[in-house]
């Protein structure tokens, strides 16, 4: 078992300067936000430069880390004394280990590509500078999330990315739908954050510290009940950020943001933070099997729910969002399986980062070409006019459905097989999910790029500029080879082991296992069915009403309706009641008291008749009483 001694204090070298990865994009964001319109002309370039610089630092750190022996790869960089309070003493520091550096590379790498892509995508938007500022802010917050060496730092990054996500979803504030979606995303995330905060509280009261390198080695010492509580609380946080059931509803609305945002935040990086949290807190979950079980259940439920939603959406971005939910469900499932699944979870996460970013950017490219149209029923036959987009999107598509030897094949099948060994029910559900994935991704692909052209009259699709296509190409290379590179020969597992623990036996990959074959067959069936319905035959321009199931999927499994019925309506009612109670009840009581006093004195003042003789009478009576009293008292 790991101990605190495994963590190495580090100060010098590139690792010592790893804080630059966070500071540079933060600086960029600050300059762009405070600089105002003066920075409009070169703002986007600064944003890209900061992101790239961060990436360069990350790569250098990565190589320096590789230079150490496997056991020496957990480096803690102390930054400063953050929160010295009575019993809570938080020192802010960065934890660099294989797990965090994987994330850092993904975030800065994919992030930089998306920055570059955005130069083209946002070229004509008056708020481009602001957009890059927010993107830089996001990168900084996300890096803090994965690099922090304690739960509080993680929490700061966690809410920081939430803020960036809020700002970017609502980037086009003038659209009421965007403003509402941004608010919804933030609030739903806050529900999750509440769980995360609660988890941190329990961690602190249990261990007296919230630093990873002190809590995690000691985790096994706590009672299982406490650990389960921590696990479930952290899971609630993870569900919020990663759009897992039951906090999934914000992700689909979040597609109101500009497409690069959907690619970076709502596909490749931020939404995977939940997986990072579960993997990072591995020792806690490993000692709490109940919490682990719940994680896997949530994962499977979400992967199916996301897939089902994906089948019915005509909005290309929402369909992709459904698939994101689903893929993160796979990662959650893997993360809930313990050390044996962690590597697959992270590998799938990285692979997904590539191919989903590639597809989202591809979708953005399509929208760019089609006057920001998102309805796939108005696409079709784009393959011929947008060759690069078609090919890169196609590669991403093949990767996600698990086409043999592409990224998704390695990572997803790894998850399915591990789950199958762990719990056949979960495994088979995951297989079914893979089959549905095959169907809905094919549907999306065929509806967009193949079949008859169903464009609007004024649509003149064209290939996007190079600044947009190059990132697509690079990302698609990643989506083709990334998975294989990581999984073949257990390369990634060995790399991650020092950070997340080594499973008892390294999983060996069987290319032609029964599960794999069944999965492939199911995917093939899904693809074929999609080809029949959407590739070969006519796609109606207006969505048919469809069965109950279709409606069910189209309405996001009634998630919004449920939220509305369970929380929003009663909430509104409660609010009105509380306002009424405050005005009439509490304040009414006070004002009533005042009115009572006022009324009483209003009556009492009638005694003041204005007749001097009445007053004289009362004076005289008083005098007589006094005399009487004097006698009584005097005689006593």
């Amino acid at each position: 078992m790991e101990t605190a001694a495994d963590f190495v204090q580090h100060s010098g070298g590139v690792i010592g300067a790893s804080w630059l990865t966070i500071a540079l994009p933060l600086l960029g964001a600050a300059i762009l936000l405070l600089g105002g319109r003066r920075t409009d002309r070169w703002g986007h370039l600064l944003g890209v430069a900061m992101s790239l610089a961060s990436f360069v630092v990350a790569v250098l750190v990565f190589f320096e880390l590789l230079g150490f022996g496997a056991d020496q790869r957990r480096r803690v960089v102390e930054l400063y004394d953050f929160l010295p309070s009575g019993s809570l003493h938080v020192e802010m520091g960065l934890l660099l280990d294989p797990l965090s550096i994987s994330f850092v590379l993904l975030i800065t790498g994919v992030g930089s590509l998306i920055h570059i892509y955005s130069i083209g995508y946002m070229a004509h938007d008056p708020g481009r500078r602001r957009f890059f500022a927010y993107l830089n802010l996001f990168v900084a917050a996300m890096l803090l999330l994965v690099l922090a060496d304690n739960y509080l730092g993680l929490y700061i990054g966690w809410e920081g990315v939430g803020l960036a996500s809020y700002l970017l979803i609502g980037f086009w504030q003038h659209k009421p739908s965007a403003a509402a979606a941004a608010k919804k995303a933030f609030i739903v995330n806050r529900v999750g954050d509440m769980g995360l905060a609660l988890g941190i509280f329990v961690v602190f009261t249990t261990f007296g510290t919230i630093a990873f390198n002190q809590v995690l080695p000691a985790a096994h010492g706590a009672s299982e009940g406490t650990l389960t509580l921590i696990g479930l609380a952290l899971l609630l946080g993870a569900c919020g950020k990663s759009a897992q059931l039951p906090l999934q509803s914000w992700l689909l609305d979040a597609m109101e943001g500009p497409t690069p945002v959907s690619a970076l935040i709502h596909a490749a990086t931020m939404v995977t933070a939940g997986v990072y949290l579960v993997v990072r807190s591995g020792p806690i979950f490993e000692a709490a099997p109940t919490a682990q079980l719940v994680v896997t259940i949530v994962g499977v439920a979400t992967l199916l729910a996301g897939a089902i939603i994906g089948t019915a959406k005509d909005d290309i971005k929402k369909a992709l969002a459904g698939s994101t939910m689903s893929q993160i469900g796979y990662m959650m499932l893997a993360a809930g399986l313990g050390p044996v699944g962690y590597a697959f979870a992270i590998a799938h996460l990285i692979a997904h980062g590539f191919f989903k970013a590639s597809m989202f950017l591809g979708a953005g490219s399509v929208m760019h070409a089609m006057n920001d149209e998102v309805d796939m029923r108005k696409f079709g036959g784009l393959a011929s006019v947008m060759k690069i987009t078609w090919i890169t999107f196609g590669l991403g598509y093949l990767a996600i459905i698990g086409f043999p030897l592409l990224s998704g094949y390695w990572t997803k099948d790894g998850i399915i097989e591990t789950a199958m060994e762990h719990n056949p029910i979960l495994g088979w559900l995951a297989v079914i999910g893979a089959g549905i994935t095959g169907f809905y991704m094919s549907r999306l692909f065929f509806m967009t790029f193949h079949g008859r052209r169903r464009w609007d009259a004024d649509a003149h699709p064209h290939e996007s500029p190079a600044v947009m296509t190059w990132p697509l190409i690079i990302l698609s290379i990643g989506s083709v080879f990334g998975g294989g590179f990581l999984i073949v020969g257990n390369r990634f597992m060995e790399f991650l082991a020092p950070a997340v623990g080594r499973p008892e036996e390294m999983p060996s990959f069987h290319p032609f296992s029964l599960t794999g074959l069944v999965t492939l067959a199911l995917v093939a069936v899904g693809v074929a069915y999609a080809w029949m319905r959407y590739g070969r035959s006519e796609v109606p321009a207006v969505a048919p009403r469809g069965s109950f199931l279709t409606t069910f999927a189209r309405r996001d499994l009634y998630g919004d309706a449920l939220n509305e019925a369970l929380f929003m309506r009663p909430g509104q009612w409660l609010t009105r009641l509380a306002v009424f109670f405050d005005n009439r009840g509490v304040d009414g009581l006070v004002n009533g008291l005042a009115a009572l006093v006022g009324g009483t004195s209003g009556r009492l003042r009638r005694i003041q008749t204005g007749y001097v003789r009445s007053y004289a009478l009362s004076i005289f009576f008083g005098a007589a009483l006094l005399v009487g009293a004097w006698f009584v008292v005097g005689n006593l």
Binding site: A4, V8, Y155, G160, A182, A197
Partner: protein, 509 residues
């Protein structure tokens, strides 16, 4: 050097000077006020720089007899808690002065401009005095005297319903103040020490029943001031009717006297009673947190909304004060300061909006972000600080309060956590309605912040951000004082269930 007397004297002299400015030269009065308040700020910083964090608890102490026959002293001194609160007050005053530059001189109002600014300075002196007083009687005098300038600031410079609000504010406060006066006198009489000096009265009341009654006398006064649910209904009225600057001082500083008093007097003078009443007060706090937030969601008037958010935040502060743990105590003190900055910024920005548009109703705005991005952006930052976004200083304090409460009282802390979500709802919904969406016709010509207003908001936001990432300077000052307080109360030391070996991080090297 009698630092504290100088700190109080400068604004008083300044107020007299401002009042003596000839009629018609309002600008001179304003500049003079700003100058005086900046001098006070500089003096305070100079004093704070000499504060010895590891020294005696009370520093810069001055004790003079005032009414010797009753043992009343002019006694002032500061510990860490008082110091940061005085700093809060003197930082806010120049900002408020700058923000209220044109608030008092609307021509139709026909009110004396210089009087308004003189009142601000008088109030500043009293705010310093109330935090610095170590004599219970002197504290009471400042506590009540503070009402007078604020009464006039609301009553003659406020909105349409100003006299209702001012009278309500005054009556509520007087009600609490009188109970406190009774308790102060009873404390003097029962303790029979012949002095009102707070340090000498510590532990003077032994009898538990007496402690409870006296505690209640003090607590209700502070609860009205703070305000704790259900004594809160004066605040929305007062804050909504007061001019924005006065509202900042009212909610930002004056109300802190309530929570400060709980920490300094209720807890230290009556430790046993405080422990006895803790469950009740925590319940009230939690109700305040949730209730204030829910009612805030339902408001249509932004100043009232901000006032209700403050009720929610004060719930956190009282919870922190009575959670009896070092973290929660430090958090509560920090919360008082940060809330001053955060709500101050919100109120001032709301004031700017109201000055521009002439309405405080949320429904009268829409799409402001498009026409006045800087205004909207700063409003968002202030709002985010109100919902305790990490990276802004309010988060640090809220986190400390919650985690500190969680150490001793799990259930209240968990319920209070829901305040986080509700805070997001009320702030972001307000932001969405006012700043998002299509631009409303009436705000199309809304000007963005001018230079003066940027100077008003910038320091507040800078403070929020700096202390959000680097709260250590404040915490270092506050921690010893909180520790002392808890020692007086005999609060138990927190011990984790499974203490991790106290090795430093990375001990393996």
């Amino acid at each position: 050097m009698p630092w504290l007397s100088i700190l109080m004297g400068v604004p008083v002299v300044g107020a007299l000077a401002v009042a003596a400015v000839p009629k018609g030269s309002d600008k001179l009065a304003k500049q003079l006020t700003l100058g005086v308040s900046l001098v006070v700020l500089v003096l305070t910083l100079a004093m704070a720089a000499q504060f010895d964090r590891s020294g005696a608890r009370y520093q810069f102490s001055e004790v003079h007899d005032w009414i010797p026959s009753f043992g009343v002293h002019y006694a002032v001194a500061v510990d860490g808690i008082a110091l940061v609160l005085i700093a809060l007050a003197v930082v806010l005053v120049p900002i408020v002065v700058l923000a209220s530059w044109h608030d008092a001189d609307r021509p139709e109002a026909k009110r004396s401009v210089k009087t308004y600014f003189a009142l601000i300075l008088v109030l500043e002196a009293m705010m310093i005095g109330v935090f610095a007083a170590t004599d219970v009687f002197l504290f009471y005098v400042f506590f009540e005297a503070m009402l007078i300038p604020m009464y006039f600031m609301i009553g003659s410079y406020g909105g349409a319903q100003r006299s209702y609000a001012a009278v309500k504010f005054l009556l509520y406060s007087l009600f609490g103040g009188l109970l406190m006066l009774v308790a102060v006198i009873a404390l003097y009489a029962i303790a029979a020490k012949g002095t009102f000096l707070q340090p000498e009265l510590l532990g003077a009341i032994k009898d538990p029943t007496t402690q409870k009654w006296l505690f209640l006398g003090f607590f209700i006064a502070f609860a009205v001031k703070a305000p704790v649910w259900p004594f809160h209904t004066w605040l929305p009225d007062a804050a909504a009717q007061a001019p924005a600057g006065a509202a900042v001082l009212l909610v930002g500083v004056l109300d802190k006297v309530g929570t400060y008093g709980m920490l300094r007097f209720c807890l230290e003078l009556f430790p046993d009673a405080a422990k006895f009443f803790t469950p009740l007060i925590l319940t009230l706090s939690v109700i305040g947190i949730v209730y204030g937030a829910i009612v805030a969601i339902g408001q249509t008037d932004m100043k009232r909304l901000i006032a209700y958010t403050s009720i929610s935040h004060f719930g956190f502060i009282t919870m922190g004060v009575f959670a009896m743990s070092a973290d929660a105590g430090a958090g509560a003190t920090l919360y008082m300061v940060n809330h001053g900055f955060s709500t101050g910024a919100l109120f001032l920005l709301a004031g700017f909006l109201i000055n521009r548009r002439g309405s405080q109703y949320i429904a009268d705005y829409g799409g402001v972000q498009k026409v006045a991005p800087v205004l909207a952006g700063t409003f968002l930052v202030a709002g985010l600080s109100s919902l305790s976004l990490p990276g802004l200083s309010t988060f640090v304090s809220e986190f400390l309060v919650l985690i500190g409460t969680f150490e001793n009282y799990v259930v209240p802390a968990v319920i209070a956590l829901s305040g986080m979500v509700l805070a997001a709802v009320y702030i972001l919904w307000m932001y969405q309605r006012m700043m998002g969406g299509p631009v409303q016709e009436s705000v199309k010509a809304l000007p963005d912040l001018n230079l003066r207003e940027k100077f008003v908001v910038a320091p507040l936001i800078a403070l929020l951000v700096v202390f959000g990432f680097f709260p250590k300077p404040l915490l270092d000052v506050v921690n010893p004082a909180v520790h002392q307080t808890l020692t007086t109360v005999h609060a138990p030391q927190f011990t984790p269930a499974i203490p991790v070996t106290a090795e430093k991080k990375g001990a393996g090297q």
